[in-house]
Subunit: 306 residues, 3 copies
Amino acid sequence: MPRNIIDVTDLTVEEIGGLIATAEDIIANPAKYQDACAHRQLATLFFEPSTRTRLSFESAMLALGGSVLGFSEAASSSAAKGETVGDTVHTVSCYADVIAMRHPKEGAPYAAAQFSEVPIINAGDGGHNHPTQTLTDLLTIHREKGRLDGFTIGFCGDLKFGRTVHSLVSALSRYENVRFVLISPAELKLPRYVKEEALKKRGIPYEQTESLEEVMPRLDILYMTRVQRERFFNEEDYLRLKDSYILTPEKLEAAKPDLSILHPLPRVNEISVAVDKDPRAAYWKQVKNGKFIRMALILKLLDIRV
Amino acid sequence: MPRNIIDVTDLTVEEIGGLIATAEDIIANPAKYQDACAHRQLATLFFEPSTRTRLSFESAMLALGGSVLGFSEAASSSAAKGETVGDTVHTVSCYADVIAMRHPKEGAPYAAAQFSEVPIINAGDGGHNHPTQTLTDLLTIHREKGRLDGFTIGFCGDLKFGRTVHSLVSALSRYENVRFVLISPAELKLPRYVKEEALKKRGIPYEQTESLEEVMPRLDILYMTRVQRERFFNEEDYLRLKDSYILTPEKLEAAKPDLSILHPLPRVNEISVAVDKDPRAAYWKQVKNGKFIRMALILKLLDIRV
Amino acid sequence: MPRNIIDVTDLTVEEIGGLIATAEDIIANPAKYQDACAHRQLATLFFEPSTRTRLSFESAMLALGGSVLGFSEAASSSAAKGETVGDTVHTVSCYADVIAMRHPKEGAPYAAAQFSEVPIINAGDGGHNHPTQTLTDLLTIHREKGRLDGFTIGFCGDLKFGRTVHSLVSALSRYENVRFVLISPAELKLPRYVKEEALKKRGIPYEQTESLEEVMPRLDILYMTRVQRERFFNEEDYLRLKDSYILTPEKLEAAKPDLSILHPLPRVNEISVAVDKDPRAAYWKQVKNGKFIRMALILKLLDIRV
């Protein structure tokens, strides 16, 4: 059976290190990789739309000299004719060399992978996993800090429903001496099971607070996420808290000069556009890193060495 | 005017033999063909969605080193602005070197071909023609049996509305010594005009039965199709008959050891997933053959010899 | 900041001359350009569908050996998640080397360009600008007449709402000795501001008439556009006038033997299909020119010299 990437923990710490090394070599020597996937095909099967993720995968494969086919929403797929997702994926695995699949249902990529003749990359399944986002975050931290250990990282915003936060907390818990600061309204705290599984079990210390401003001076990395109005139990809380979780140049005055600001995007208004020009803003670099780490992952799954 | 493939009978028996030979050479020596269509463009104009067929065409062109553009449903097309299909196809024929076109209306690809400056391949027009499916079926039979004559083939399921059955019966009637067994409920028998045209006129013997189990031991090839509930006149008949047309490992116990099971896919439940592991199941190989025969057809229409 | 093409007047007369020269060299020596954009990516961001324009851009990039990614309607885009157009374009500019963007809102491509890290080509913004259509028209005139000055051009149909007419009138006003004949019903005359800005200010003479037949014998070029029923103030006027603006072989009997008939397409019925065979019909050649001038423009914006 081919190798699949459904959850970021399908990869060992060593494998993640290898992917980051490859991505950084791609960034340094893009021409070396520009024909690495010549005559290979990536299929992007997006059972729900996600332009950002789909285009990141597609540009990654094209930058490797490969080609791309697929669909961008379920309406255009055979699913409409009553075919199982397993059969759809099996069919496409007869055409392409690797598949990036997004599905609104948790677990669908794992189930589909049982029917595929080629490697499957989970490009997001409901509120569950999105391993290439986590790899993107890890590459960005590595490029910004030069390492994946020994720093204080703050997660700010909706820590309850934000799957990218859960995955990144889990992934970082495998590295030494990472200090976690969890900044959110009470309603949107990191779920108990994530804290148990990723932090407490391993004896990793963490801190919870409602105040971004209070902890700002101590952060090496600030991972922002969106706070959606509809997540709040009552309007009052929302109005009281919403501004505390909007990052502005003013709030950044108290931050370290070498802070790195990450955000998985898309943003609505939780980072002011004025922050984009701050040299500490790393989220647009993060977008580019998403392409490079996907290039590295495709090479790994196709077992192509350059 | 360019050469078009609207109906499988637009091709002579000799031409079909040539396509099968090319496809088998592609399978044996894929690298030989990987740049054959470099700098050529295929347009896929799907006025109704069909992911399976579209991706098969696209992966075929990409595997030949060509590139692909087009649309996957009419909503995104100029048709919405009141343009005729002829003008849309004429326009695209100014951009691309060959067109694969699917349309819900019977005859639309034939009509459109009159306005095209490049070859048109009919990728399905309503319940009418779908010549590349029939070519796929013929290549699969040839690869499984080593020949296109001298065997007993059973068609099972909905033989009334299944256009792939009509086309394959017609196509096979041009070969020697093919014995046809038509297995269906009374309501879903092969239409009289197909029997007249393809079989009786040529004096080809055939047998009609309601029982798959009865004829199973004699079949060299079994071509399964879907039986849709809504095709039955009454619910009683549906309930009585539906299980007889579901292929299971149990029913296959009575079959020849070298039987080949085909199905145009997608399936709903007419072949149990447990059958997929049976070495006689040829329908997933059939999916791959669909790509290879389309590669051969594109080469032929672009007049490219490798 | 990268160079963008939002309005055709973003280009000088000299630059337009250069693009036309490149396009004509591409037509003469296509093989010379077939790998010019190897390893480069064009993103087509169509926030509203326009198959014709999108496929023209895509086939242009593919014919240069580049590759293509993007989306064909807003529904599949991140816009649905509340992201600003600026952020969407910024994101895609992290993946691709050049962007062709279409948007229903006037000015959207200009605004978006402020956030892009790569050149933006406006592929149409509402009823506003569509510079590559105007470049297509200019290339077509140049290929038909061998020059861009010293001729009489008639614009016929809906001159009020047809943005392609406004742009072409403005663009041609920069050349010497072009005589303009504006043929339309009173309700659909060229807007006063276009006449002021493009013609009167420069002292360029023009003539307005309701009768195509009257002026036909004097025209060197006839630029047809669609007359939409819903543009008329009353049904009576529509019925009285509609036939005068339908081009037929009969009406063409009075025309010069070297007339060139242009139309931006799609047409509904304003040019009879019988005219397609007339050697003076240049609108299908115009479709092909649209691909060639876009190839030239992509090369210019990517600063690639062949």
